[in-house]
Amino acid sequence: MFAKIVGFEFRYQLKNPVFWVAAGIFFLLTFGSVTVSEIQIGSSANVHVNSPYAMAETSLVLALFFMFVSTAFVANVVVRDDETGFGPIVRATRVKKGAYLYGRFVGAFLAAALAFLAVPLATLVGSWMPWVDPEKIGPFRPGDYLYTYAVLALPSLFLTSAGFFALATATRSMMATYVGVVGVLVLYFVVTALTAKPEYMTLMAYGDPMGFGAVDLATRYWTVNERNTALVPLVGPLLWNRLLWTAVAAALLSLAYGAYRFETKGSKVKRRQKAEAAPAAPVFAGARAIPRFDGRAARAQLWARTRLDMAQVFKSPAFFVLLALGVFNAGAGMWFSDGGYGVQIYPVTRQMIGVLRGAFTLIPVIVAIYYAGELVWRERDRKTEEIIDAAPVPDWVFVAPKILAIALVFVALLGVSILAAVIVQALKHYGDFEIGKYLWWYLAPLSVSLTLFAVLAVVVQALSPHKFIGWGVMVLVIIAMLVLGNLGFEHNLYRYGGGVIGPVAQLSDLNGQGRAGEAGWWFRAYWSAIALALTVIAYALWRRGKETRLLPRLRRLPRRLAGPAGAILALSVVAAAGLGGFIYLNTNIWNPYHTGLDDDRWAADYEKAFLRYETLPQPKITDVVLNVALYPDYPKAVTTGVYVIQNKTNAPIRELHVRFAHYLKVPSLSVEGARPTKTFEKFNYRIFTFDTPMAPGEKRRLSFQTELSQRGFVNSRNLTRIVENGTFLEDDSFTPMLGMDRTMLLTDRAKRHKYGLKPAELRMPKLEDDAALQFSLFRKDSDWVNADITVSTKADQTPIAPGYKVSDVTAGGRRTAHFVTEAPINHFFSIQSARYAIKHEAYKGIDLSVFYYPGHPWNVDRMIAALKHGLDYDQANFSPYQFHQVRILEFPAFQGAFAQSFANTIPYSEDIGFIDDVRDPDKIDMVTYVTAHELGHQWWAHQVIGANMQGATMLDETLAQYSAIMTMEKLYGRDRIRKFLKYELDNYLRSRGGEIVEEEPLDRVEDQGYIHYRKGSLVMYRLKDVIGEDAVNRALRTFLKQHAFKGAPYPRSTDLIALFRQEAGDDPIKQQLITDLFEKITVYDLRTVKAVSKKRADGRYDVTLTVSAKKHYADGKGQETEAAMNEPVDIGLFSKEPGKKDFTSKDVILLQRLPIHSGETTLTFVADRAPTFAGLDPYNTMIDRNSDENIKKVGG
């Protein structure tokens, strides 16, 4: 009996469209993540799309969202019989409650589990697709698929199925069950977000019912190799997690038994329907209403149909589920959006819109597809088509309202999301709601673009022979849009609507939507004309009455287009042609049209043509004169310039290679005493031959004129560096470079492989490569240069360039400022121009200033204070500051979320620092940290710069980190640095796993951020701890003395390490530590095994600690070998847990540095107070994969 019920239910569910739709959607989601490089779940550059790790992440994520599907299956089981009225018949049979209930559950669950097989199937199929880079595909191991499905997916599916089955039996309502689903999902996201901190990791490994926590705990520090080959082992927390939650599922199932009443649910006793007998109907007399068929009637019909269509959307439970899901997803995103390191940010409207665009817009897209089908097919689904279609209503009254209704639903949806954003802003005590930005940056463009998409969905449904086919076609459309872009089909003239949610403009409070915003409206206008034409065609082919075949409708098409319909069609085609022509003029004639693929191919050809010139000796630039005229509205930058170049080699130079950025226009270029002999127009590469070769030491002049501009707008990749307000140019984008180097080349492994570039990776010169010492990290063609830069811009903007301002004149609507250097600086310039608010403060003879957007005033004072603290530390400990000004300048978010240090000039993105909310003193003060870091670069880059070889960034980024950490430590104390270092440690260990090429030790770092920043912080802090701050700073002072402001040969990382070794003296432990920190990849495993404290007779405490320690060296791929450990480690006793909110130095009872060896060590102490926490390396200065086990609660 049971088996028969299971079988029946299973077959029933398989016939249900939900099964196929769900399987289809999840197949496509997975297929997309496997085959489209923009959609990635779990995989990354080196992690295979079918690696066990990527499959695990995909399974977890999709199993979570599968909740909606499994609920549809299992809740349907309970609710179905009552809805169809079949319940009494079934229950009148001899079937037992248990068999009925669980038989059906099992059948439905099996169907759900079968549908989820679409996920592994899609991974498999996706890994066969020819366009997927073979480097991204690992070997096919069936066991991985099975294991992932059985261990990670099935228990989660079982849990959600059982849980919502129980809920459905208790409520007997689909709606209530779905509300429950949303509630659970919201709760889940909120709890997950709240516990996304290292300290909750173990707890969540058990507590997270979907298994994310357990998998994350096990794999967070996995290297690429592990991610590609290892399955998440079913031991420890993961095993217990799966068992625990499966048991919970079983318990929920048994609850369902109790909650289910087999008897027919008696309908509530309602008031007796007296209707039939009601005699009190009024008497209606008077003339019959006469129908009319004029404009007024048509308007009334249009509105009535629109209302009906909207009501169908608004009254359907699915709509509310979608809306709630979208709002909570976006709400959580907005609520928890932060600036990294747990820092709060001010919820500026721009930021809110950014989150909404990412987290909310999927909902209207689903609404468009789903409800287009529902609305177009409603009359047929409800069998009202004969009545409705026989009414004297013109067909356009059926077509237009569908589109109108969906458009209005979009406005409502987006409006609700705006409301959610405003509520988040209000809850965060942020009062500047900027409704105008919500409207013009979000609501207006998106509702139009989404409506265009909805028109397509309606048209597809009008032509398709079945609703499901229409839905399927639309899903294919979305996939095609995503995939075609990757294949080089990018033009918005043929990408419908310019993308599913239309062309998306990047935002900035300084510059609004910029040119892309304007371009977006041209594209929207163009596609609106096409959408109108499509609507006319949908009208002409509208299904009316019983004829659903397309062919007969096509036959009557010409007759239906005669008259106004044809005229509108013709008009819209003409409008589309006109708008399209204008767009083409902008995107393809006024500006070069190029796709991402074109650019890649160009870069590959460039490398093939010119990389062989890399070692050709070239002169170096010694003096730079630039005159940059900025036209922010155009946008355009016209530059005339002169370089003085000098042959610094020992041999004559016969040829000069002059290069420019790809799309830069070069109206004139001349080199003193040289003629152009080869010009590669396509590559902007010119070779000059000197009439008489440049003798060693000889100087000559190079004069040039360039124009960096964009006329009108482009398809994508609008010029973002010159904008109406917030121009930020780096000099290499508009000035010549001499000789070939490796900038502008393809670095992505897969792309290099695709274009047959050798070697597979472009690596930096080795540490041992003496030839590389001739060139600085910044530029190959310059050492230190004198600069004379004139910048002119609109009269209402402030022009900025490195150097001291010697004049500033406003005349004829233009403001011109002239900057010169007093001493040579790096050839690394920024040109900026915007309408800034400016704050100045003089400090010890230095002019500190912040140029900022007036709407972002919050942290300006803090930045100035940070500059003071930083100057104090750096000047006192390293060398005097070489300039008498420091300028921080805000730039638009779409140019990047970073700060950068040029000589006495620090461009600082509006996305970081300026909007940090540092009112909570317990949070890490990232404003001060970033500012101090960039200020540190004035020493570590602008006084001393490394040779362009391995280890170079240790000399600027790592040392700037050191400056920042020391500034922070002086300001906030050592105890609070722990929190910061813990983020650094976690980030370093996680990023190792994403390494694309090879992890290097710090002394050989190849511009790898996670090494020179993250590991750099940890290394420098530990070094300072062990050999002492004074010793470190002495070494740095010596380093500056030896190398500051000197040209080639440039120093290497090992030069500084040698100085550290000198300061460390003969102590072999310290020498070994320097080896481990700088020259090896060292990973510790430190644990406190036992911590016991006993009160003594004298009122003090005996504390016994058992600690265990291990040290490993790792190679570049993460393979570890154990090494003998013998080094000093901090041991501490505390009255509060270090790193916790209220932990202060008063909570430190005892802190000693004791030698610790490999293996277990037992230590005893006598403490004055009772410790509650104790352990080793409490401040996380050592690189330890399990830093949470360092400290333990003290037992009695």
């Binding site: 009190a280 009024p282 209403a289 009334a300 026989a390 004297p392 013109p394 009455g545």
Partner: protein, 292 residues
């Protein structure tokens, strides 16, 4: 006056639903009688502009129905054989919606018209109830209410009484009779009594063809003296069919009462029977089946 000429309709799957139908339908109630599958609904849908016939002409007064469906819809009231309703919509709201679609734009007049029709169809008391919860009779009455909206000159009701209990059916037919005086009303049905009770003119449709037209009384008269009846055991029925033109049989108290068509008394225990429209119908069907 509705004039149908040589109307033929073939469905996509090759089924010939209408075969060269020619028919004139005058003002007043017109009964279209035929068994299930005879093509009644196809004919109704062709007239109601919901289906374009493969061949043939339909004219209503000066309207060419096939070329100008928009014009016909303005004077049409149509109650399909089977229709659904929107979920969660009340009778009033749905009728109001239909009134708008029928071109009654002015809100006040529309309200009066909707209420009047609800009252006329005895649905006023339940106007705020969801249609989905209506009984079959209530739903049919709602169907006729919406068909009457906008003062139609051509009313088509397709199988309106199927599934109604006798009381509901009476009420429904009374309603039809009231309105069927000045306009063309086509009542398509397989229930002979509906036509007997209401229609001064009728046609019988079988296998997509019109096999008989006329006034019911005339048709009955043509049969007079040619119908014979006999009560036999069930087992003897086959033998009877072999010998005579058995046009109908029905059970009565466990035995079978057979009607036979014959110009002369067939003897053998047959008795003359004063036939009704039902016998016209059955004899016509019998003849058309034999011809097929």
């Amino acid at each position: 006056m509705l004039q149908i000429d040589e109307l033929t309709h073939v469905y996509g799957n090759g089924v010939k639903a209408l075969d060269n139908v020619t028919l004139s339908i005058p003002t007043g109630m017109f009964g279209l009688l035929g068994p299930n599958g005879a093509g009644k609904s196809s004919l109704m849908r062709c007239i109601a502009t919901l289906q374009t016939p493969s061949r043939g002409q339909i004219r209503f007064d000066d309207i060419d129905v096939i070329q100008e469906p928009e014009r016909l819809r303005r004077v049409l009231g149509y109650l399909p054989q089977d229709f659904g309703v929107y979920p969660r919509v009340s009778a009033y709201d749905m009728l109001d919606h239909m009134a708008i679609l029928k071109g009654i734009a002015e809100p006040k007049a529309r309200k009066a018209e909707v209420e009047r029709l609800l009252e006329q169809t005895n649905l006023y008391g339940v106007r705020k109830k969801a249609l989905a919860g209506f009984s079959g009779g209530m739903r049919q009455r709602f169907g006729i209410a919406q068909a009457l909206l906008g003062d139609p000159r051509l009313i088509i009701v397709d199988e309106p009484t199927a599934g109604l209990d006798p009381e509901e059916r009476n009420r429904f037919l009374n309603l039809l009779a009231e309105i069927g005086e000045n306009v063309v009303v086509i009542l398509s049905t397989h229930i002979v009594e509906d036509v007997t009770d209401l229609c001064p003119a009728m046609a019988i449709l079988a296998g997509g063809k019109i096999v008989k037209t006329g006034a019911p009384m005339d048709l009955v008269k043509q049969l007079s003296g040619r119908i014979w009846t006999k009560t036999v055991e069930k087992a003897d029925l086959e033998a009877l069919r072999a010998q005579h033109q058995v046009i109908s049989t029905r059970l009565f108290a466990g035995r079978t009462v057979a009607h036979v068509l014959a110009d002369e008394n067939p003897g053998d225990g047959f008795e003359p029977f004063a036939g009704g429209l039902e016998d016209v119908y059955f004899s016509t069907l019998h003849a058309s089946r034999k011809a097929a």
